[in-house]
């Protein structure tokens, strides 16, 4: 049983849309595996991201994919990526996004070595962050797992404070700061797209920003908090005193193999004092997915102009879910009495 179902059982939740979207995703991943497996090899992985990788696929979802390269350069990689694109289009209802971030080849070198600085482009930040927060691999996963682990190794091995004995709270600041930066990048890019693409489709983008985009940041934060919370006091001192980078990479890698909803459910299950807010959070997310699972409401939101939202019933319903989601997050991360509040105020805000 996955973590979301376990949480539902424990706190009396009923989230049929989350289940439906998960089932849709598994079905599509099965189809993609059949058609794409032959394109993968030990040095190349087909990586999907977006709603499909989060197991939140709805009928109107596109399929964001990339061909991750982690080995010798081969001129045939272009042809392979074109073939993959054609095969994905047979399964997807919509093409990949317009920014050119997906549907192409991605080199592990840039993802791992270009964190921060001039060379860390918007695309690179996006590909790197999504690889960690919402990705899944189709077929041979050797390159995919190698790159994710090497990426985590960079964040963790270069985090000097994390391994200092005098630092009590064991949180990976380098990684947390990069995830926070990515979350803010998404919010700024929302404004950029609003300016460059006009008002149509912006309401749906806005709701996604408030829900699914925010969720991946929440899951990333919780995965970072887990670096501290996974241990009791004695075990934590023992683990960190030996600078056990590979051990922490293994742990974080395993955590990030879950979907954002699973990570969130998994961590919040440990805080029964937040059960009411947790239920509210997942209820809101289920409501959001229900709107997207319905072709009529999704199409309506896709065609809606930003200027026409004020009295739009479907948009207002989506906005209500987004507000409920926001309020639940505030209760858990900012108002509660658990350590989550302490960490969020101390490290997540300033």
């Amino acid at each position: 049983m996955n973590q979301v179902d376990l949480l539902a059982e424990e706190i009396g939740g009923n989230w049929p849309s989350i289940r439906q979207a998960r089932s849709n995703s598994l079905e599509t991943i099965g189809k993609l595996t059949e058609s794409l497996e032959a394109f993968t090899a030990p040095d190349t992985s087909v990586v999907i991201s977006g709603s499909l990788a989060r197991f939140e696929m709805t009928p109107g979802s596109d399929i964001d994919w990339s061909l991750l390269l982690d080995g010798p350069s081969d001129p045939n990689h272009l042809k392979i990526s074109q073939e993959i694109g054609a095969a994905v289009n047979q399964v997807a209802r919509k093409g990949v996004g317009k920014e050119g971030t997906f549907g192409t080849m991605v080199s592990s070198h840039n993802l791992i070595n270009y964190i921060g600085g001039e060379v860390d482009t918007n695309s690179n930040t996006t590909q790197r962050s999504l690889l960690l927060l919402e990705s899944r691999c189709i077929g041979n996963a050797e390159a995919y797992n190698r790159v994710k682990r090497n990426l985590l190794k960079r964040y963790l091995s270069e985090d000097s404070g994390l391994w200092r004995a005098s630092v009590e709270n064991k949180l990976p600041h380098f990684l947390m700061n990069d995830l926070a930066r990515y979350w803010r990048t998404m919010t700024v890019d929302y404004a950029y797209k609003q300016r460059t693409r006009g008002g149509v489709g912006i309401p749906l983008r806005n709701i996604k920003l408030r829900m699914s985009r925010k969720l991946i940041y929440v899951a990333g934060l919780l995965a970072c908090y887990d670096c501290h919370l996974a241990f009791d006091d004695e075990a934590r001192v023992e683990f960190y005193k030996d600078r056990n980078v590979p051990g922490l990479v293994a742990r974080l890698h395993e955590t990030l193999e879950q979907t954002p909803l699973e990570i969130t459910a998994n961590l919040l299950r440990r805080f029964p004092e937040h059960n009411d807010a947790t239920k509210k959070l997942f209820d809101a997310y289920d409501q959001f997915l229900r709107l997207l699972l319905n072709d009529d409401s999704r199409n309506h939101l896709e065609q809606l102009h930003a200027d026409a939202t004020e009295n739009d019933a479907i948009y207002l319903k989506a906005k209500e879910a987004a507000h409920q989601f926001r309020d639940a997050l505030e209760e858990i991360f900012l108002d509660g009495r658990s350590i989550l509040k302490k960490f969020t105020i101390k490290y997540g805000v300033f």
Binding site: P72, E142, R146, R149, K153, G247
Partner: protein, 233 residues
């Protein structure tokens, strides 16, 4: 400090006598007698009583790495003749019939494989290997583990999972063509990440392909990596 020594194959391929001669003046207490090719195992076992192995506290024999199914029983029968204290290093992909090796119990040690192989590379794959040889011990090849996962996460997971079976560690650079070579600086940095998880009593067997004048420096290099405190890694 870990006991340390060389694989005879790394020094002189199948010519174990020459390798032993070259190692005779080097301070080592462990050795792996290599018979990677099928035609090398018979002569090696026949020659064992005559070999001067007195200075070695730890001795292992590397069984052939590839053979036909019909050759397997003969190889296993030959290996019953070696002293019980010698560990027998086996490649999991070489095994056709695990039933032939099961009676050896803890005398055989399964080695983790490089990227070319389809089994024995990761914890999960090794668990499968040990399920058919439940009493077998483990030869950890740190170069293979790095080639599979340069972040050394899989190496850590392997050591964590199979530490109770660990009998020896193979040490060398393993290049992109899966050839053993001198330990590079990049490999040194990677090995240092997990070296502390290898207990001090576990012998290090160097597989780096060396010329005679590189033997000593490669030993020093490996010992330096495996004797660093955690925070110097």
């Amino acid at each position: 400090m870990n006991p340390i020594g060389f694989s005879t194959g790394a020094i002189a391929l199948g010519d174990y006598s020459r390798a032993l001669l070259l190692l005779s003046n080097i301070s080592t207490t462990a050795i792996e007698l290599s018979a990677l090719r099928v035609n090398e195992i018979g002569p090696l076992i026949e020659a064992l009583p005559a070999l001067d192995l007195a200075k070695y506290q730890y001795i292992s024999i590397h069984a052939p790495s590839s053979y036909l199914p019909e050759q397997e029983q003969g190889i296993a029968e030959l290996l019953w003749a070696i002293p019980a204290r010698f560990a027998i290093i086996l490649h999991p992909d070489a095994i056709h019939d695990a039933a032939l090796w099961k009676p050896f119990g803890s005398r055989v040690a399964i080695e983790n494989m490089d990227r070319r192989k389809l089994i024995g590379r990761t914890v999960k794959e090794l668990e499968h290997c040990f399920s058919s040889l439940p009493d077998a011990r483990f030869c950890f090849d740190i170069g293979h583990a790095r080639q599979v996962d340069p972040s050394m996460t899989e190496a850590y997971l392997i050591l964590n999972r199979f530490s109770d079976r660990l009998v020896q560690v193979h040490v060398s650079e393993v290049d992109a063509q899966s050839k053993h070579a001198l330990i590079s600086y990049a490999a040194e940095l990677a090995f240092a990440d997990v070296a502390r998880f290898v207990p001090e009593w576990v012998p290090l067997i160097l597989e780096s392909r060396v010329t005679p004048n590189q033997i000593q420096s490669e030993i020093f290099r490996a010992l330096d990596i495996f004797s660093r405190p955690a925070f110097a890694a």
